[in-house]
């Protein structure tokens, strides 16, 4: 029998029971929709992470104290004192790290910022004056502190946008005094809003020397940020830093390192591995609904085969072979699931698009809608396969019917 006719017959067969066909494919639609949604959002999240990491600069190296080698400021790293002033001096020396354009120490603490009657809990970052350069953020009002402020332990702060909103409520903060841990600081700059994915909105920046002296009372750093002169020198600089620090810390065995060196590329890789794994896991969970959908298809196809016993018998009496009948019912199943797949892909893409717009506008992050073409192709293939796998049993039942049994059936 011609495939064209088989297809027409299958369409007629399905169109005769429109609402049943629609209900039958619901499982497949839901399955494919979830898979597309998960994969599209996963790809969006990955792009967001990569963009942010790129924003931080592909030439940035971060030296963290302690052994743990990934993840930002864990508790053990905050408390670890292995990075001290001499290490900063070491890395600033051209002979040790020839390609370092700048080295910036950072310390992190927490404290309540107080202005008049308003109190707001903030993260206190002590940093060098290079922050605008390294993190690509410049105050939209006032300015960032200078190297002189760092040297002289000036009592100045640059505040994040939420800190400003909560403490000043519309007043101009520049030149105002706020108190943190019983010390008074002059606000010299306000950072623009960064959005939900950034911790800077809730933070205040002050010179690291000031933070060490007045807020933390420590002598060590929570991280050293090294900017390399060119991306080509990134890997060699990582090695230079390790060698310099090991020499200084008297470490011969690299596994004994009391510091870790990561690049933005490493962080990006780790994060994208995590999102990929998470996406794959969620997609696998969504795929379970496809199996359920497939069983639904099988069930309905079996009902359909029984219902159409007479039709099958007639077709056989008129010359249809077992193969013709098998093809007809298999095509019906595959067309059902492929249609379900197509609807699912459309629905998944539309939902994902809406979610990406909501995320971008509500959370103020630069979330891009990504249509996962590979997932769409996969979706159609998987949906058709579901039809093939779960359609084969009912189709064989149909093909096995003897023409006489089938014609006799009432």
């Amino acid at each position: 029998m011609k495939l064209k006719y088989s297809t027409e017959t299958a369409i007629t067969g399905l169109a005769t029971h429109k609402s049943r066909s629609a209900l039958t494919i619901l499982g497949v639609v839901i399955g494919i929709t979830s898979i597309i949604l998960v994969m599209s959002l996963g790809a969006g999240a990955q792009n967001l992470i990569l963009d942010q990491v790129k924003g931080l600069g592909a030439t940035t190296i971060i030296v963290l104290p302690g052994k743990i080698s990934f993840g930002p400021s864990l508790a053990s790293q905050t408390l670890n004192d292995s990075l001290k002033e001499r290490d900063l001096a070491l890395l600033e020396t051209k002979e040790n790290v020839p390609h370092a354009r700048s080295v910036m120490p950072m310390v992190v603490g927490a404290g309540n910022a107080v202005y008049g009657d308003s109190v707001y809990q903030t993260t206190v970052f002590g940093s060098g004056a290079q922050v605008p350069d390294i993190f690509a953020i410049t105050p939209d009002r006032g300015q960032f502190f200078t190297d002189d402020d760092v040297l002289s332990q000036s009592l100045v702060v640059v505040i994040g946008s939420k800190v400003k909103d909560h403490l000043f409520d519309g007043d101009d903060p520049i030149g105002q005094k706020i108190r943190i841990k019983n010390n008074t600081f002059r606000v010299i700059g306000v950072l623009p809003e960064q959005g939900a994915s950034s911790e800077f909105d809730d933070s205040v920046f002050m010179p690291y020397t000031t933070a060490q002296q007045y807020i933390l009372g420590t002598k060590f750093y929570n991280r050293l940020v090294v900017v390399v002169d060119s991306q080509d020198n990134l890997d060699s600089t990582v090695q230079d830093i390790k060698i310099a620090l090991r020499n200084s810390h008297n470490i011969t065995d690299p596994s004994e390192d009391d510091f870790s060196v990561t690049t933005q590329a490493d962080i990006a890789k780790t994060l994208s591995t995590v999102t990929t794994a998470l996406t794959a896991f969620l997609a696998a969970v969504a795929a379970i609904s496809l199996v359920v959908g497939g069983i639904g298809i099988m069930n309905i196809m079996l009902v359909s085969v029984t219902e159409r016993t007479r039709e099958i018998g007639l077709r056989k009496a008129l010359g249809a072979t077992d193969g013709d009948i098998l093809t007809q019912f298999l095509l019906e199943a595959v067309m059902l699931t492929a249609t379900g797949g197509a609807i699912g892909i459309t629905l998944g893409a539309v939902l994902s698009y809406v979610i990406s717009i909501v995320l971008a506008s509500v959370l103020k992050i630069d979330w891009q809608f990504v249509f996962p073409w590979s997932a769409a192709v996969l979706g159609i293939v998987v949906a058709s396969l579901v039809g093939l796998v779960f359609g084969i049993y009912p189709a064989r039942q149909a093909a096995k019917k003897s023409p006489m049994e089938a014609l006799r059936y009432e």
Partner: protein
């Protein structure tokens, strides 16, 4: 030349250990172009015989030659092909696809045939004209009367230009007037178009349109005689 030749064919049904003999050593021959009627009370095995002759069912013993060849040498695919190209079926219950049009129903066997697609419409239309239903060609099967449905079924049986037409109680579900119209067409298939016809009926009146009547009783042939005063539709109208 005989188109159908059986030699001692038997059919035994087995149901939960009890054996039932539906046919016992039936030997018969049908010549090309002949019109025979098979008669018998219900349970006599006449339907079983038609199903075996029409290759819809298999016999348990004996041999069956169709068009000079033993059918036991054919594969399932070849048998499907013979049913499609050399045999036409008309059933008591019409067996039309209810949601398809007259033309679509008549075209059905063509989809399984080797006849080129360009000829399908012409052949189907000719067959519909042969049974006089050209004014109903786009109607759905459900909109037709019983007699019209059976005429569609006859057109469907004709469309691949078969050697033999098997008709299983074709007038059984019809009133006498529609039944006469149907039997008229079946007789014309034989007399005017030269098709071999094997008709099953329990009405002597209908059987007498054939040239020869074979009577079955308990699965055995008890009589095989030519019809002396063969009926034609013209006779019916004269009454």
């Amino acid at each position: 030349m005989n188109i159908i030749e059986t030699h001692n064919i038997s059919k035994v049904y087995e149901n939960e250990g009890t054996k039932t003999d539906a046919l016992r050593k039936v030997t018969l021959a049908v010549a090309k172009g002949e019109f025979i009627a098979i008669m018998g009370p219900s349970g006599s095995g006449k339907s079983t015989l038609l199903q075996i002759l029409g290759l819809l069912d298999s016999h348990t013993d004996g041999s069956y030659m169709f068009a000079g060849k033993d059918i036991s040498s054919y594969s399932q695919e070849e048998i499907a092909k013979i049913r499609n190209g050399k045999m036409g079926f008309v059933f008591q219950a019409f067996n039309l696809l209810p949601h398809a049009t007259v033309l679509e129903n008549v075209k059905l066997p063509l989809f399984y045939s080797d006849i080129p697609e360009e000829e399908w419409d012409v052949r189907a239309e000719e067959a519909v004209i042969d049974v006089g239903l050209e004014h109903r060609i786009e109607h759905q099967a459900t909109q037709l009367s019983g007699g019209e449905k059976q005429r569609v079924a006859i057109a469907r049986a004709l469309v691949c230009d078969p050697e033999v037409i098997f008709a299983d109680e074709p007038t059984g579900n019809l009133d006498s007037k529609s039944g006469e119209a149907v039997i008229d067409i079946i007789q014309k298939l034989n007399t005017e178009m030269g098709h071999t016809v094997v008709l099953i009926t329990h009405e002597t009146y209908t059987a007498e349109y054939a040239q020869r009547i074979i009577r079955l009783h308990d699965g055995e042939i008890v009589a095989d005689e030519p019809v002396k005063n063969r009926k034609t539709v013209a006779d019916a109208f004269q009454k």
